[in-house]
């Protein structure tokens, strides 16, 4: 008799994203960043989308880069909502998702860009 043990999907997924605008002189603080993420979820998935808890764990204001944490049930919804988000107050913008992992430690090193972020 075979016994299969499954630990299930990971509890949380971590994403390293950055927000890019076509114009460079726009300042986005962490509250505005979170509001933009919620707006992206609102347009794509409506009010049930905004009910999903997305945490901004770290935010770098100069590069507009953040580490987000989301529950595994909302992971694909968050990623798809960020991908399809194009405009914020008539300014063109895009979310670039650099790294995704179920383990936060994995985001410490980025082998694509050979950069170790010490923040």
């Amino acid at each position: 008799m075979k016994r299969i043990v499954s630990k299930g999907p990971a509890d949380y997924f971590y994403l390293k994203v950055s927000l890019e605008f076509t114009e460079d002189d726009i300042e986005v603080d962490v509250l505005l960043f979170k509001a933009i993420i919620v707006k992206a979820l609102l347009t794509m998935y409506g009010e049930t989308g905004t009910a999903m808890t997305v945490d901004v764990l770290k935010y770098n204001e100069d590069r507009k880069e953040a580490i987000l944490r989301v529950h595994h049930s909302g992971f694909s919804k968050l990623w798809s909502a960020l991908t399809l988000f194009g405009y914020y107050s008539q300014k063109q913008c895009a979310f670039r998702v650099h790294q995704v992992s179920s383990c936060l430690m994995a985001l410490a090193f980025n082998s694509r860009q050979h950069m170790v972020h010490a923040n």
Binding site: L41, L42, T43, M44, Y45, G46, E47, T48, G49
Partner: protein, 162 residues
């Protein structure tokens, strides 16, 4: 078997000021439901339900609505329905009664539901004529079902008060 599978949501419209007939069109109900899905489930919900959604039946006298939606996405419709507060200027809400796989199953439910509602109405009757009318309607329903009612004579003087 490749076939589109649907779910039919049977709802009752409960108006704020209850009137006998409120003229609503099927397309008004459709637009209001679409708006509710778009608000609750966003572009994804609107896009995914748009293909198969249809208001199949609307009866303004009994205020029953039958909405069809694809089987995979019926929960999106079902969860958005409680957020509808008005159609045009009339304030109302949707009271969802039954979800069935076919129109026939919804009709069967509607018949049973109607009979239950007649029992409720009988308790609420205030005058003797109303009671007699409701009792006659109840017998008529059960007669149509083919039960053993041959011995009952349809007599005006019979008193079924119990």
């Amino acid at each position: 078997m490749v076939r589109f599978k649907n779910r039919y949501l049977l709802c009752e419209l409960v108006l704020e000021k209850d009137c006998l007939v409120y003229p609503i069109e099927q397309k008004e109900v459709y637009y209001v439901v679409r708006q509710a899905i778009e608000r609750c489930h966003g572009d994804y919900g609107a896009g995914v339900t748009q293909g198969g959604m249809n208001v199949k039946y609307l009866n303004v006298y009994t205020k029953t609505v039958l909405i069809r939606v694809r089987r995979e996405y019926y929960k999106l419709l079902w969860s958005s329905i409680p957020f509808i507060k008005s159609i045009g200027r009339q304030k109302l809400f949707f009271h969802s009664l039954h979800i069935g796989g076919t129109i026939r199953s919804c009709q069967k439910f509607l018949v049973k539901y109607g009979q239950q509602q007649l029992a409720v109405l009988l308790q609420k009757c205030k005058t003797q004529e109303e009671r007699k009318a409701v009792q006659r309607a109840t017998i008529h329903c059960t007669w149509l079902k083919g039960r053993n009612f041959e011995n009952v004579k349809h007599n005006e003087d019979d008193d079924f008060s119990d």
